[in-house]
Symmetry: D2
Subunit: 323 residues, 4 copies
């Protein structure tokens, strides 16, 4: 695959001339607009390593189905993937386990914040979908049970698809999460009381926090998510998911990928997307390309302010919404 | 516009030969598959006029953006639109009132059945979205306040877009709904206690039940929804909605259009869609075509069993999902 | 029965000397303490006729089992009984209908505000207890069905037990309630949708609002509630309730009589009690006496500030708590 | 204090003649009635040591304020106190910490099952009362923080008040609870996420399960609860609680002591009471006596079937209800 920056080549050694790629001009324009914004939101404050990041930082990358990737701003800067990792964990669980994963987690929007226990209780320990924390814990539980190293599998998938072997966990971030992990521990124990997670809770949480601590750049993530634009086909041409499974993941991303703001994201951006509290968002234009944007300032629902705005502008300027 | 049946011409006087349209073969195949199904679900039982319909009936229509429409089975048989009318009421409210309508109703999936009061209470009388009953009441309240005849406006829109001046209310159905209307009355009074509906509740309910009682065929509804595939443009070329508003409506349909099964519909069908307890479902392929399917047997969530299955098959056979 | 004021004879023509009754000194002291309070709360503001009352007004009456009644302050001033009427409606329904009334309403504390719909939905239209509004509507529905005039029956019971034939409805108060009755209408329609109220909702609401509009004084209500201190026996010696039924009513008053503050009332006052938003509270010392206190300023949970404080002082000074 | 069996002397060496005590005849009659029952419920099944107990076993003890205790049936048979221990932990916390304990736990009935997370979430991690599991965890957390050995303090209180130095933990029961402790772990972590428990969760759970594992007999518990009938005064005449605090504990027992059946218990029994899944129930007749009954078969809400029935009969036969 070829890496190529658009207007702001960052550290890329061999940047092609601006405009060499079909969305270069668009993303350059978006980067300028985002730089001019006053409101950047605030970084997540419960993880010290995330809290200190400058909320004005901004990067955006586009990956074409053929593996070409280009970007603007901090598009090659690694950041904490956090909940974006849930998409890759889900894809791996589906790949290894097929439909069975859906016995323990639903595919419906939750209508509640990402870490709510209420719905979980009314629905007997079966989380609504794999992108709220409870559902992601079910997925990691299953992936860990199947592979013995859920977090390592997610890291390996990112490394392989992006071609970047330097992608790795950040132990201090995982440790910070663990130190503030009571809510997730409550979710895990609660589902364990229903038999819907099977690993010892400390092992499950350790795997989950490691998975969330992976650092990767916009370039890495746009490339890694490419299989979702290619209907399940990996960078090397093999199938990670069936066409139907890829559609499942995209559908769940569209309806559930941005916490309690999925409806608004669908209407403003109109693409399957998944955000993380590290400030990143990936988005899929099925059959066309994948996007990843990063800006660490969050809105009150935990989504990157400039990230959502940038994707909104992208679909408006290009007309590439699914609607 | 031209009406044309595909394989089963029904009452169409001048049916073109089968295969004359791009999806004729596909929908004929689907109709055969549906006829072979054992499980048809059961019609809604609380409205006598709906309860008596044979659950094996099936019709499906496709409308092209240019106004051509063709279908199979009972595609020209009028049926009770019920909640499908909510899409047209929303479009009219958006058209007349712009963003203001969103002050009184959200755009997020509800995570609860269509007539739940729970979320409404926790969110202070603001319904989650315009397709649960509470949200539809807010839309009708506003449309009635703006026009003095919400139901008449919806009927007029359907007549104009479909070219079928015979589309009309069915007073007996409206009366049946009113006779079993305690849950909707509770919703309306509850929102009135928050000031989120402004009309006298009996007037609002009368308008709402009239709107839901409109009868139209698959052909009528596929044509009438055409503006959502044409990014807001009506059959006569004028704009009903802006491109952004059309995208809003499609996004809300995808995330909230099939009651508590929106996630599953998104994953199986992958199109913006809206169902009604009369057994109809409309679905939009943005930029491509609109679909309407009808079969009166429902699943436990209130969606047509054969209708969902037929749309699932359509997107699988044609690859026309948004994902 | 003999009416006798303690220290502040109010309009009583022939007041006996202070100290003539066993609690005269205690209630005089309490009245002085209440007069010295700074914080009186605020009258209910949604009924104009209640909103205008001076929150510093205060009256308290004690009725002995033999029908002697005495009081302090505004103890002979009629005020709006509001929810206190629910106790008398429940007693009449039990008397006429026996255990059957408990099929439609529970006897458990609600853990939610008095007009919540949430619990009602989770429990399929069966209200938790007869003192939240939903439960009181069920009781009035049944009493109206049995007698054709629920409100008239409650008025008659109060007149007979108090010996005051002037006790009556206040139509303007009933009309004010009806004008702000959307929440109660929502509750009634919601229960009607489960078949748990049987009358037409407008008839039920009219009966309910009339019942709540009854005006009576502390003296009237302390006397009228006497049967609850006499284990079910009316002033004339006949039985209104069985001993077991009287115990039921007292138990429900203790656990559910003061909206969402029943636990605090039990711990501070330690007596079965029932409050109304008119500022009145009745309380029962089984086998000993009945109390009624009135002061129109309410706390945020709808209970009279000085009323609760006065009863707290009464049980502290006399040691007459049930605990 | 003097131990004396009524009609069924069990293992007591020197039983006085039947009828020597004021309630001897009553409890003998009740024991006969309970022996004749067909329906005994089923023991708690999640703790093997409890599951194996014969549900027909029955014991009942009465302790007089002067320390005399007598009983029938298995009144001297130790059983697992389970949630009954929550009363003693609360009394100790109140004694050591005063009103401060109420900052972290309410005094209102819950309206939800004993181990629900729903209300806890809506009320930001503050449990409704100290007798649901979440509230008991808050009390134990505070008692452990104050004393370093919450469970040891509870055991010591029981030993001292009953005069039985053999009262002790049952490590196997504590271990069984821990092995099925995911729901309690969820509650503890959830409250920790709000800062409403302060100890490390494993330490808190260990203390809590030890406390619940204490075994004591009806005689022991009736004597130990004597301070609640003596308005806070211990067996040795010193004050454990103020009169007001004793009233608080009794009030919370009446409104919240029997899980989701507090209303029914109040109406049937009419006494402050606290049940445990070991099949025991203590009940207080303020100023008169304390009762403890044991029969291991439970109803669906977790209360002893024969225990509730026996207390119901006791208050019916003696007229000793608080109502």
């Amino acid at each position: 695959m070829s890496h190529a920056s658009a207007a702001v080549p960052a550290s890329s050694a061999a940047a092609p001339p601006a405009g060499a790629h079909r969305f270069s001009a668009v993303i350059s324009r978006i980067a300028e607009e985002m730089a001019a914004r006053d409101d950047h939101g605030a970084p997540a404050d419960y993880i010290p390593m995330l809290a200190g990041v400058d909320p004005r930082r901004f990067g955006m990358a586009v990956a074409e189905p053929d593996g070409t990737v280009y970007g603007v701003g901090d598009w090659q800067q690694p950041f904490s993937t956090q909940s974006i990792s849930k998409v890759f964990a889900l894809a791996l669980a589906l790949s290894l386990d097929g439909e069975r994963i859906w016995r323990g987690v639903g595919r419906e929007p939750s209508g509640n914040p990402f870490n709510s226990l209420v719905q979980l209780e009314y629905e007997n320990g079966i989380p609504r979908n794999p992108f709220i924390n409870a559902g992601a814990l079910v997925v990691t539980d299953r992936l860990q049970a199947l592979t013995g190293d859920a977090a390592g599998q997610v890291r390996e998938l990112l490394r392989t698809e992006s071609g970047n072997a330097a992608i790795d966990f950040v132990p201090d971030v995982a440790a910070s999460e663990a130190a503030h992990g009571d809510r997730n521990a409550a979710l895990a124990h609660f589902m364990a009381s229903y038999g819907n997670v099977t690993l010892p809770v400390p092992e499950l949480l350790a795997a989950y926090f490691r998975q969330c601590s992976i650092e990767a750049s916009c370039a890495d993530l746009a490339l890694s998510a490419g299989f979702l634009a290619r209907h399940g086909v990996r960078a090397d041409g093999s199938a990670l998911l069936t066409r139907s499974q890829a559609k499942q993941v995209n559908a769940v991303m569209l309806t559930c990928g941005t916490y309690d703001a999925a409806g608004e994201f669908a209407y403003r951006v109109g693409l399957p997307g998944k955000s993380g509290v590290g400030g990143g968002i990936i988005a899929i234009v099925p059959g066309e390309c994948t996007l990843c944007v990063w800006s660490p300032g969050l809105d009150r629902r935990g989504n990157s302010v400039a990230g959502v705005a940038a994707l909104d502008r992208f679909t408006t300027l290009t007309g590439l919404s699914v609607f």
